[in-house]
Amino acid sequence: MTKQNLIDLIQHRLSGGDTPQELKGKYHPRIIEKHCELALNYLVNTIAYKEAQRNMDWGVLDAYAKTYTDVEVLTDEIRNEKYSVLPSKYVALPKNRGIRMVAPIQGQDKPFVYRDNNTKWLYSSLDVNTVSADVRFYVEGEKIFYSEHIPNVITAVLIKMIVPFSDLGANDEVVIPQGFGKVVVDLVLQSMMGMPMEKVSNNNNANTP
């Protein structure tokens, strides 16, 4: 389903049927788009991430990811570091799990190793920095920077990342895993009606979603 398909679907739903009177035919597509973004971010951040964490099944997040195959590697002369500009924004998750993989274009068996931002001072003085030749990457704003281990022959990389709804084009595919379509539509409608999101956990804690 494309982004436009989803917006049309929501708009169609809002125009008739058993849609509450206060919602019927009142919303501009841009407003619907914003509510879709909220709903999808909620789906990824809360439902998918929690499920992945609970079951230690990180593949759940990969279902939402989009792949970019030719992202250029540039050099920041001032910082003397190599970097790439992220091809789009990404969904922020703990440990930057919104960026699923960075690897040479034909080297997914040798992906770059994630490193937290501002930890270079730590790891550069540990043995691992010299013993392991893997390329490390860390995220800073809308760029990813590479460690000194990156060879000069790598001029472009492959990036898999979870892209927020707002950064998709009208004809881009919206990655919604099978079975979650109705969840997204319901979340959008709830959001537009100002209803609180349905509680998904069963732990009697009002502070958890």
Partner: protein, 261 residues
């Protein structure tokens, strides 16, 4: 037919990745686990799977020399005199260098006098130590035999802080070679470990990764520690197990062809 069996030795990357797979983790802590694996291998190299190396170190004007960068502890120290190795005697009373002066170490040492006494060591020795076989300057030394014990002509002390070996001897031995057999950290880019050590390394990584975390219960930490200790003991037992040939040797050692009575 070509042997298709998997390798008996694996690299550190294998050990870390197999641990991540067992824990159902993703790649976010890979670098941390790799560092823990290095720590674990270093511990193995100091005990169960010692990585013993031999270095030839040239003595300077102060009868001292720098220790190798991967040095952890020594097993044998000898000096090469007249094509023969002589082991040295440890003396913790030797004075250490005072400090450095424009990059040079300064030390009040006994460097005057003659070293004749030292060089006139008796060649009539019948016992000693074998140094590990090794490569030096592109030459393979199958093993070096060193006369040892009872001479007490030359003494040494290890200056751990400055990573130097200090000798006490009458006269100067500047330019002479010290042969140092030592246990190495044994970790570099090409480090491989035997496959039966992976179990220990995995359990070590798991244990160390939770050891200092406040959100993990003491029970879980203790369980992880126990698993690690068990894996270490199992590895030790396997490495020191009684082989079949050793058993047969023991069995037949007291048998003779004498008449049964």
């Amino acid at each position: 037919m070509e042997n298709q069996d998997i390798s008996g030795f694996v690299n550190l990357e294998y050990a870390v990745k197999t641990t991540i797979m067992r824990m159902d983790e993703d790649d976010r802590n890979y670098e941390k686990y790799m560092q823990l694996a290095i720590d674990g291998v270093t511990k193995l190299n100091m005990g169960i799977l010692p990585s013993v190396k031999v270095a030839h170190l040239t003595l300077d004007d102060m009868n001292s020399c720098n220790l190798p960068s991967d040095y952890i502890d020594y097993t044998l120290i000898g000096i090469e005199i007249g094509g023969r190795l002589w082991t040295l005697t440890r003396n913790t009373n030797i004075s250490l260098p005072l400090g450095d002066n424009c990059g040079d170490w300064t030390r009040d040492t006994i460097t005057t006098g003659s070293n004749e006494n030292f060089l006139e060591l008796s060649p009539d020795v019948s016992s000693g130590y074998m140094f590990n076989q090794h490569y030096y300057n592109g030459t393979q030394f199958s093993a070096l035999y060193a006369a040892g014990g009872g001479f007490n002509k030359a003494y040494y002390r290890i200056d751990e802080r400055n990573r130097r070996l200090i000798m006490l001897v009458q006269g100067s031995l500047s330019g002479y070679n010290i042969v140092l057999e030592y246990t190495s950290s044994g970790v570099n880019k090409d480090t491989v470990i035997p496959r039966d050590a992976v179990e220990y390394l995995s359990s070590y990584i798991v244990w160390q990764s939770i050891m200092y975390r406040r959100d993990v219960s003491t029970g879980e930490k203790e369980y992880a520690r126990t698993q690690c200790v068990r894996a270490r003991r199992a590895l030790y037992a396997k490495r020191n197990s009684f082989t079949l040939s050793e058993f047969l040797d023991e069995k037949y050692v007291n048998l003779s062809q004498g008449v049964k009575r």
